[in-house]
């Protein structure tokens, strides 16, 4: 039987020399409570889980960091540089994240506009170049622009992560053509990061041939985060499998599926 085609034909996702089973990566922000977050992450099947670096709240010093809730032996914790608006800030946060964490990976964000949260391409490439030189495996969040994606690959990024639509918008994949172009032209893995709103978005995004998806809000802000996490897991798997299976040709005419011969008079 060939019921698990995916496992038979798909290879693991390899980023910066590390192999991952799951092509779905999830964030840990915006959950109503820690248990809801942990349940959702487990339901998602994700291995790579993003976290942010922030000041310890000294006035309530017993407030726990996220490491009290996520086992670093069970999940691959990926520090981000969210909230950084310059290359220097992002480099500083990346270094702190490496120290707080357990690996050389960083999800690099350099934001250029507070309203749209669109990346600052110049700052992004500058920060990526420095961090690669410092030995980081840089996973760079970028817009869906092929030129920036190529520059980030040239800078030595381990993966390039174009957005489907703006962070937290849930608008889904707005430009499949740009995403396909980036995937076709780059050698490093392409992970779509941000904008996926529901399971069909995840599926359509994976059908473009990208290597994975990173999402946060779509799961955290669902009415039932654990259920949406499972839906996303299935959506990612379905889209991946459909991509590997190779879809039929589109034709703008109807072609009957049943024989046109042998019909009754």
């Amino acid at each position: 039987m060939t019921t698990s085609v995916s496992a038979q034909t798909d290879s693991p996702l390899t980023i910066g020399g590390r192999a991952f089973r799951s092509r779905l990566m999830v964030g840990t922000g915006k959950y109503t409570d820690n248990q809801t977050m942990v349940d959702a992450i487990e339901a998602s099947g994700a291995e790579i889980v993003t976290v942010a670096v922030r000041r310890v709240d000294l006035d309530r010093s017993q407030q726990e960091g996220i490491l009290h809730h996520l086992d670093p032996d069970k999940f691959f914790l990926l520090a981000n540089t969210a909230g950084c608006f310059t290359a220097d800030e992002a480099i500083r946060y990346a270094r702190l994240g490496r120290e707080a964490g357990f690996n050389e990976f960083v999800k690099l964000e350099v934001i250029g506009d507070r309203e749209t949260l669109m990346p600052d391409n110049v700052g992004l490439i500058e920060a990526a170049t420095t961090l690669v030189q410092e030995g980081f495996q840089v996973m760079a969040y970028t817009n869906d622009d092929i030129v920036t994606a190529l520059r980030l690959e040239d800078a030595g990024c381990a993966t390039v992560m174009p957005l489907a639509s703006p962070i937290g918008s849930g608008l889904g994949l707005l430009n499949p053509y740009h995403i396909r172009t980036i995937k076709q032209r780059l050698s490093v893995p392409v992970i779509v990061d941000a904008g996926v709103g529901t399971a069909s978005d995840a599926c359509v995004t994976m059908e473009q041939g990208v290597d994975g998806i990173l999402m946060n809000t779509a799961i955290a802000k669902a009415d039932d985060p654990a259920a949406m996490a499972r839906a996303m897991r299935l959506g990612v798997e379905a889209g991946r499998l459909a991509y590997l299976a190779g879809r039929m040709e589109r034709r703008e005419v109807a072609i009957p599926s049943s024989p046109t011969t042998g019909l009754l008079d």
Binding site: G27, G29, V53, R55, L58, A82, E99
Partner: protein, 70 residues
């Protein structure tokens, strides 16, 4: 009388004993050194060096950890 020094910790000015080290600062703030990363005047100080790093008046210290994020 013990002299005190002013240190900016996570953006707020606090007073510490003039002989304090970074390790003392964490102890006064009741923080587990294993759970925070210490940045002293913009340089990261690793755990084994905390006790050997003295604080001086006007120093800036950032104490960070991982929180939820996307």
């Amino acid at each position: 009388m013990t002299a005190s020094i002013k240190i900016t910790v996570n953006g707020d000015t606090r007073e510490f004993d003039s002989k304090s080290s970074l390790d003392d600062l964490l102890r006064v703030l009741d923080l587990d050194p294993r759970m925070v990363v210490v940045e002293h005047n913009r340089s990261i100080v690793r755990r084994p060096q905390l006790a050997a790093t003295p604080l001086e008046d006007g120093d800036s210290v950032e104490l960070v950890h991982f929180v939820g994020g996307g």
